[in-house]
């Protein structure tokens, strides 16, 4: 199983029936592929839709129905559309149960940096700051390390997305939570030892006695 699949499958297990969920671009988008059959989850697209469906068949797309990246999508029965003030009212107002976002860095206190690398990448924050500030539960889905460098850092040196800490980080190596405000190793990926996780984690991790492997 490749890194992205491990992350997406594990994050999908966090979703509960009836949840309103917003997925960011990149790895988070893959999560919708692994929602267990029969689980009734609503996905929001922040350009104004609840009830996003799969990419339509060739020739059946509608130019006025797209995801937040402008790519054609479909809508499921029960879908609804709205303007951007409503869309972000849902997000900031705590009506979105779970958001899954990519990350550049998460630090020991759960703070996320994911929107800019000053001088290199200045794309704009889009909806990320509102999502982290307002969603009921924030899950970061990202690789544990990039080019051998840990993305779980002592303290973010990239600009923060929000002062509100995230709730869970799921990587290709581990699941990390923040009970009591401290980064804590909750699970390891299949075949990965606690020592291996610690070796590529810059932040100090709380290591409980029992750390199960992800059930994928």
């Amino acid at each position: 199983m490749d890194a992205q699949t491990i992350i997406a499958r594990r994050v999908a297990q966090e979703l509960k029936s009836g949840n309103l969920v917003n997925l960011g671009i990149g790895i988070p988008t893959l999560v919708s592929n692994y929602v267990p059959a029969g689980l009734n989850v609503f996905f929001q697209s922040e350009n104004g839709l609840i009830g996003t469906g799969p990419i339509p068949e060739q020739g059946l797309s509608h130019p006025l129905l797209t995801d937040a990246g402008g790519k054609p999508i479909s809508a499921l029965p029960g879908a609804c559309t709205f303007d951007s003030a409503m869309s972000f009212g849902l997000i900031r107002g705590g009506h979105v149960d779970v958001t899954v976002l990519g990350g550049l860095q998460v630090d020991a206190g759960g703070h996320l940096a994911n929107w800019t690398i000053p001088g290199k990448m200045v794309p704009g924050m889009g909806g990320a700051m509102d999502l982290v500030s307002g969603a009921k539960r924030v899950i970061v889905a990202m690789q544990h390390a990039a080019k051998g460098k840990s993305k779980i850092v002592v303290k973010c040196n990239l600009p923060l997305t929000s002062s509100r800490p995230v709730d869970l980080v799921v990587t290709d190596m581990a699941v990390i939570g923040f009970p009591g405000g401290k980064a804590t190793l909750l699970e390891t990926a299949p075949g990965i030892s606690v020592a291996e996780v610690m070796a590529v984690t810059d932040a100090e991790l709380v290591i409980p006695d029992n750390i199960p492997a992800m059930m994928l």
């Binding site: 006025l64 003030a85 200045v122 924050m125 700051m129 600009p159 002062s163």
Partner: protein
């Protein structure tokens, strides 16, 4: 509401005007008006819009033609030409969280001085902004945005100027239709008054100044 040609409507916009443009990655963007801005070479535009779309698409057409001097937006990452013009000091970009952008426009259209939001507290977005404590929580005061012109794209417009929108092409359009001195609308279809049921009207006709007539 007056029906005019795109040429007549865009001729009213002076160089240097502040212009809101509806749409999200080019979806729900009033393309005929953007094409006409390019044809008439209206320059130094101060745009308020969600994103810069892609080169050759939506707002990207105005960037391609180097007609924009300032852009207030939430996302420019998919249009490398904006970066090039930023680096060359030809365009100033104010990046704003998307929900804050929507609420600042809504406030501008609703007679509010601004809104209080927790989004951006403790980040670079808070720089230079007033912080206000309400009920033990810290908020940023985000001031209202207003424009000289709003360029809006609807799905249906009736002879009275009532508008309805389709699917994800609604986005910022109804908010902007309230927040500018002059509102200019393109639409997929012009229909007789009454075709849009009163309950389905999203933007009331009196907000619309000019509707672009069928060519």
């Amino acid at each position: 509401m007056k029906a005019v040609s795109a040429e007549e409507a865009i001729a009213m916009i002076p160089n240097g005007a502040t212009v809101m443009v509806g749409g999200f990655m080019g979806v729900g963007t009033p393309d005929r008006l953007l094409d006409e801005l390019v044809r008439q070479q209206k320059s130094d535009l101060m745009l308020i819009c969600n994103d810069a779309a892609l080169p050759g698409k939506g707002i990207g057409k105005l960037i391609d033609a180097a007609l924009v001097s300032r852009m207030t937006a939430s996302h420019i990452g998919l249009n490398p030409k904006v970066h090039q013009q930023m680096m060359a000091n030809r365009i100033v970009v104010d990046l704003i969280p998307q929900g804050t952008l929507a609420e600042r426009i809504r406030a501008g259209g609703c007679g509010l001085g601004g809104v209080l939001t927790q989004t951006g507290v403790g980040t670079s977005v808070e720089q230079g902004k007033q912080k206000i404590e309400v009920g033990g929580k810290t908020y940023l005061l985000e001031t209202a945005l207003h424009a000289d012109f709003a360029l809006v794209h609807a799905f249906l417009a009736d002879y009275s100027g009532n508008l309805s929108y389709a699917l994800t092409a609604r986005n910022f359009n109804p908010l902007m239709a309230m927040a500018a001195d002059t509102v200019i609308v393109t639409t997929e279809h012009i229909v007789p008054t009454g075709v849009i049921a009163p309950d389905h009207v999203v933007t009331p006709g009196p907000l619309v100044d000019y509707l672009i007539a069928n060519g």
